[in-house]
Subunit: 508 residues, 2 copies
């Protein structure tokens, strides 16, 4: 077949949406593609033969680059039994018919009752629900929020979503009206935010988290940044806070949250509170999770006139998800956001945009129901649910602590203990010769280090620059690793051996 | 609490993204909101009391406005057993352990084997998959396309999506580089397209389907439109075709598709083929479904040099979904698109954007696997699957025909038989006094008619103007109804009674 020399494809890098080209998404970029390739090779046949032919120096890829707890085979967090029982019953309601024998052993009565309640509302998991999500599930979310915060929550202002990411993208597309708009994001940040802002073609206004103060927000500095950017003509109108922090693992204090909300009021900023790790808290006594919604509404009881106004004025969007916590149900794609103090006409626009997407996936919605309404004491599934959730929580906490300790012992590595979330964010100082080697490859030193780590060990982590935290002038680099690897000791061993030999290779 | 007079909310209709304001989405707008309100009222308590208190003149709302076959209670298409068995087993793999007794009766061996295959690939339905979707499922999609079309298909160019809508939105966001871009859409069209183009702030370039020629595409007129728009400075670069048609129920002939592809080549247009109704074909002998991909690749065998070039040059994106067909699994959110002749660098950008969304919901992906790989003859589930799918297909076909016949008998109504899809699109000529009454309410006459229909009968359909088909100068209006209502006779009766009394009310 002769190829035409004259025909030019319509879509090329030059003709497509330039804002798409500007999107960067480090969690799944070059590194994760290379890791995927290794994993595919290792799965393709005889392990030893494949390793030899392809020069692979490890038996398995450890995807510590993404918080995906149930991923097989290396992380393999077991799903919560109650969740999966309810899911199976809603998928195949014939199982509800059979009330005795094997099936009644397999499905406790509270799992059956829950499935029946859900089906009564949604009809079928194969039907579109209301675009905001099934109304009974939104009511349960509102109850959960009320119990958590001690303040009312309106189910009509709760939107179920296909994971928190989908909600964030929806909201940002409404907030950003043009290229002059600025949205503040923390540095380091989860790359969804920078990606969505690049896609929406507006300014990502960065505020630095303080590594030496548990990654707290420096609110005074944040206020100066707002003023400076506005002086430059940037219409700074929203502020993203990730609490507990990703990638930092920090958990903000109530005082810090209060200051952020006061600043948001003073400077007129919409607050977008990403609270997807609210259940991953390792020291609840010293550093509990407190929602932005609670702190906001608490101002209403302060007696101070300005603060009482603030409570009903600061526009807040709070995000939550079933992908994290101890459920780790990423693949269902479930989450929600709650709108607080939003102009009803704007809310109507959010609703319309949710309608264009028809509805969030039903099993994601059901996951939200299970997240906000777990088995209660005295119910048949309670004991197992408690055992499983506490077990996962303890395991994560133990791993997080052990990994932080071990990281901190490695030469040239600083690593604080995480207060929450599923990550550690150690700082690694690379020797000058390693920086030079990276330069030769035209790579950032932290990416260079992570690629070398992957090639040597199969461990895939994300360089700090992927979260906007650039390497420092003296070789200070960051990287983010999940704390999900099942074989923590082996993980640390593989990592430590590599690190030491890397330092040796590049030593003065 | 005193309200501040000085504080202005950040987000108002004036400050948010103006392109969001421009989005219209008729399938779920004022009409469907009113229908929802009726349904909520009727579900809220004693039916007779609620009806009396709220002046409601019907017992149930019939949501004929959206293709949602499994919606309870009025449509209630039963899910395919094999689908739900596999879904339940993947949700709760403990069910696979039990190989005898009750469970082995409930789960045939092929359903078990399928669940095991899927779990072997994805690990857990609670884990993120590859961003394009699980690789084994993409391979099965490619096999399905190869068998359907007789041409190769590459799994790496197949992207699983959260329904076709998500895929369409992803692709359009890549295609549209600025406000000068134009994308051709049929009139009438499915409102997702106009909504997504308004959101992306570009030109929706309309081409009329010919109501008097089975809603065929007038390709010569389409070519003139391209030239005219380009002369005005619009960068027309893509062309949406919905085949089988929504809302028209038409099915394009091979010759018509050939002409469209030749025009796309001549004018350099990317073709976006929305083929979600490819399994809803009522007269396969006279008007079979033929995919754009097949017709495109068939040109490669034509022997004509220009056509053989065309086969490898026209950029094509083909969409499919699990929400329609006979599965009707809308709530799972599953679908896929296939890229053909796409510049690899552009494909890399599509992949990156898919990555930002992490992955499509796993149960949606599993639905795609079941769609493209149904039970085969000789397998234990085949007989039931065949009975169920043929039953649904025959029911839809019978209902579609019966409803078309009955509509056509009503005074002032024209309604052709559908060749495919799940809708009828009758033309109703309204008397001048009804047009005046609509004018007084500042509503389009077709919307006025549909609101009156809803208020009188509880039947919710969508006015033609919601699909871009505006009322004609002599009162000619269109409306779209699904053919999913279980009680077809009652539906027609309710509709016909209203229609006659409406005509009487407004007669000369």
């Amino acid at each position: 077949m002769s190829a035409s020399t004259s025909y030019q494809p319509v879509l090329t890098e030059k003709s497509i949406n330039p804002h798409v080209l500007n999107v960067e998404y480090a969690v799944r970029g070059e590194l994760s593609n290379r890791a995927n390739k290794y994993a595919e090779l290792l799965a393709s046949g005889d392990n030893e033969k494949v390793k030899k032919e392809n020069g692979i120096r490890f038996d398995s890829v450890v995807t510590a680059n993404i918080g995906n707890p149930q991923q097989q085979p290396y992380l393999a967090q077991k799903p919560l039994t109650f969740w999966r029982q309810v899911a199976a019953l809603t998928e195949y309601p014939d199982l509800l018919e059979n009330k005795s024998g094997t099936l009644s052993d397999l499905f406790p009565s509270d799992a059956r009752a829950r499935a029946e309640q859900i089906l009564h509302d949604v009809g079928s998991v194969g039907a579109y629900s209301h675009s905001k999500g099934a109304s009974s599930i939104r009511k349960h979310v509102a109850q959960y929020i009320e119990e958590r915060d001690g303040h009312p929550s309106d189910p009509e202002l709760i939107y179920l979503t296909a994971g928190a990411s989908a909600g964030v993208q929806l909201l940002l597309s409404v907030v950003v009206s043009g290229p002059e708009v600025g949205v503040m994001i923390p540095i380091p940040q989860y790359p969804l935010y920078s990606a969505a802002l690049a896609f929406n073609n507006c300014h990502a206004v960065r505020y630095e988290l303080d590594a030496d103060d548990d990654w707290a927000v420096d609110v005074a500095a944040m206020g100066r940044t707002v003023d400076e950017e506005r002086a430059k003509g940037v219409d700074v109108r929203a502020l993203v806070v990730i609490n507990p922090g990703n990638p930092t693992g920090s958990c903000l204090t109530e005082a810090n949250i209060q200051d952020i909300l006061k600043l948001a009021h003073e400077k007129r900023l919409v607050v977008m509170a990403d609270e997807v790790y609210q259940r991953n808290i390792y020291h609840p006594d010293q550093r509990p999770f407190i929602s932005f919604k609670k702190v906001l509404r608490d101002f209403g009881k302060s007696g101070n006139a300005e603060e009482m106004e603030l409570a009903n004025q600061v526009e807040l969007v709070s995000f939550h998800s079933i992908s994290k916590g101890v459920s780790g149900e990423c693949g269902r794609r479930g989450g929600y956001f709650e709108l607080t103090n939003m102009d009803p006409k704007v809310e109507a626009q959010v609703y319309k945009m949710a309608s264009v997407n028809l509805c969030p996936p039903l099993q994601g919605q059901i996951g939200v129901d299970l997240l906000v309404r777990p088995p209660k004491e005295g119910e048949p599934s309670y004991a197992l649910w408690k055992e499983e959730t506490e077990g996962i929580h303890e395991t994560l906490k133990k791993r997080s602590r052990k990994m932080a300790d071990q990281f901190a012992k490695l030469p040239g590595v600083k690593c604080g203990e995480a207060q929450g979330a599923l990550y550690l964010f150690p700082e690694i100082t690379l020797p000058p010769k390693a920086i030079e080697a990276a330069k030769k490859e035209e790579r950032k030193p932290d990416l260079y280090y992570c690629l070398r780590l992957l090639d040597a060990t199969g461990i895939c982590v994300v360089p700090g620059s992927g979260f906007g935290k650039q390497p420092g002038p003296n070789g200070e680099c960051f990287l983010r690793t999940t704390v999900l690897a099942k074989e923590t000791d082996e993980f640390i061993q593989r990592f430590g051996d590599f690190h030491k030999s890397f330092l040796k290779e590049f030593e003065g």
